[in-house]
């Protein structure tokens, strides 16, 4: 996804009245074209902040669904049908991206030009290197003992060690989520204060936390998959 350049359609395509950024023309009520690059926050009429009240988000989603859903345009002109499909799908995309706290951060980073998909995800965070190394050793051991059909006390101990490791990483996920929350609060404060430098720093921090988060999540998933075999 690209950084957003908003070109605001300033007049209604249907009647020519001024209609800046509204879903419908204030004069003739026709559904408006969607300026390219309208981001999800703006689309829902929200500031670009990470703290969102869920009931407010849901209410906005439902309210706009009544107006923008293609059901309303079955008998309208082809242009209006296309516009309702465009606005209706962005509404659903926006709700999907913003209702989940982590997806919301990922989306913000994307529109701020801070997130490059998969660029650094696979690198182990330095402070975890030693634990990851041990974990991978235990996993290898588990696989080879399975191939040799080994059972008994040694296997039980190995499984317990892996379960403990998985729990340990799960606990770290909680820490990571708290760090993410702190950085998010920092970002929200800069939206109000206009402190761009601190804002960029908060974004960079969130990007790094998200990479760590997805690394640990994959790790936990991998161990759990291996244990459930």
């Amino acid at each position: 996804m690209n950084a957003i350049h908003t070109e605001t359609a300033s007049t209604c395509w249907s009647c020519g009245a001024p209609a800046a950024g509204e879903h419908f023309c204030p004069k003739c009520g026709t559904i408006q074209k969607l300026p390219r690059g309208t981001d999800h926050f703006r689309f829902l009429g929200l500031p670009r902040k990470l703290w969102i009240a869920m009931d407010d988000l849901e209410a906005r989603f439902h309210q706009l669904s009544w107006k923008l859903h293609p059901d309303n345009f079955v008998r309208a002109t082809v242009e209006e049908r296309d516009l309702s499909l465009e606005r209706g799908s962005q509404l659903n995309d926006a709700y999907r991206a913003l209702r989940d706290p982590v997806a919301r951060v990922e989306y913000l980073l994307a529109i701020e030009g801070m997130r490059k998909e998969g660029a650094t995800k696979q690198q182990a965070p330095p402070e975890l290197l030693e634990e990851v190394f041990e974990l991978n050793e235990s996993l290898d051991e588990l696989r080879s003992s399975r191939e040799g059909n080994q059972h008994g006390a040694e296997m039980t101990a190995l499984l317990r060690r892996l379960e403990e490791a998985a729990h340990g990483f799960e606990a770290r996920l909680k820490d990571v989520d708290e760090q993410l929350m702190a950085a998010a609060r920092q970002w929200d404060a800069t939206v109000d204060s206009g402190d761009a430098a601190t804002g960029r720093a908060a974004l960079a921090r969130m990007n790094e936390i998200l990479n760590r988060r997805s690394y640990i999540r994959n790790l936990v998933r991998g161990v759990n998959e291996e244990l459930s075999k």
Partner: protein
Amino acid sequence: MGRTVGIDLGTTNSLVAWWNPATCQPECIPGPYGSTLCPSVVSLDADGTIAVGEPARRRLLTQAERTIYSVKRLMGRGIEDVQEELKLFPFRIDPNSQQVIRVRLGERVFTPPEISAFILRELKGWAEKFFGEPVDRAVITVPAYFNDAQRQATRDAGRLAGLEVLRLVNEPTAAALAYGLHKSQRGLVAVYDLGGGTFDISVLKLISTGEGDIYQVLSTNGDTHLGGDDIDNAMLAAARDEIRARNGVELDAHAEAVQELRKVLVAAKHALSSEEKTAVRVALPDGAAYGREWTRAELEALLEPIVERTMGPVKQALADAHQKPQAMEEVVMVGGATRTPLVRRRVEEYFGRVPHTELNPDEVVALGAAVQADILESGVRNMLLLDVTPLSLGMETMGGVVAQIIPRNSTIPASAQDAFTTGVDNQTGIIIHVVQGERELASDCRSLARFTLRVPPMPAGAARIEVKFLIDASGILQVQARDLRTGELRSVEVQPSYGLNDTEIERMLEESIEFAEQDFATRQVIEARNEAESILAATEKGLAGEAGRSLETAERAEIAAAEAALREAMGGEDYKLIRARIDALNHATANLAESMMNQVLHATVEGKKLSEV
């Protein structure tokens, strides 16, 4: 413009329903045999005529090789997808089938959408007869777990039947709509839909807002190869083995006998829903008889693995909705197979509450389709359906790995954009492979489409093409490409991997002209009769009035004769004759009409001042 209806195009039975504004309720429309169920069976007679429904079902017993049932199992599928089906169902697949399956009926070959179109056309006919007006638009239901190809095939069938498909609606969602209307229920609802050939589970949230009620689907899951048909097949296999062992008869060689046996077994299955045991008896081709008693316990033993297979999707749907089974405030049962006591018991055990069965499980989906048809048609907006896409949409990337574009259970319409560039100098095309499914490798997912983005020769990486993938409100994929350097928007030719392209559909529409002509004739008869009714009424009114009384006896006799001739023609099916006699009556009443007009004018003028004329 004609009427709009809701249609449940089922594996075993299909139904058509409408919204009755007088009762403010949806109602199913009965066919010529009094039932609202139209068996989804199509048969081609030796003289080339097509029979659909009950008459076709009877022909299963006499002309099995000219008759097909359960065609829904083939919709949107390729040969390799239906290998299991081919072992169990007597589909006569044409050896020349390519990506789209072709089925033999006697000496002719049809695609599954063409056969489904015959069923839709029949239902359209039922509705036209019922309304006395043409029907040209429909909401058609599909299993929620249908993929893009299966949805497209259903939409194509509608088009081939001469229907504008306003929307495809997921069957469990339609059921929830009919049910919610019935109960004014709010909160979390699970819909368990075990039909003839497909299983769906949907979790919905019913919300009241200031504008009206929202039916928001949270998640859906299912199996499009699982249904009541499978129980029939299991019973049939058991009986066939027994016949082989006891009588030494290989029943497979006798298609009609197999169908006779199937019919008897299905009746036994139905009986076992209310009784503990039932007797089955059927004559074998060698003249001997096969008889056996089935107990409910035996049936349930065959049913158990089928019910068990539904539980995986049920658990996945709840997990995707982030809900526990106990959190469901209502559980709704849909589909004929949910009449079976074992299914009800197992669903009740799992959710910890008694499932709702008060609406007719055969009709509830069609009723919901009629509700949605009315919403779309009348613009009366106090209900809103927010449905989801059942399967994740993805793109094949390096190494055959799938990159997810739109996750499953996203509310539709949904969209996603991605930018593409070239990897080598002067590359003129970028190949995009779109797939649907949850697996990591593209080869394990359903291939939806492969297409090439054309780019002018340029250095590697200089081209920038943005592709927008959009799943519309019917769950069907659309693709748009935009050249980011020029801003130029291009429509992308997406050739569906397992669907019919526009050229093929056009050709089929032409080929089906003979059937369309039958349709056309039916519609013409209806319209001509309506017109005749109104001219007859006008004539009667005229004759009773002052203008009529002043007519000469000869002229009155002429009019009476023309009226009688028209009435006689109305009893027949020849619309040209009806039209001719309408003209004759018009001619005979020319004088009458003129003096009526004069009197009306006279009366109007008399009541007014000169200045107002």
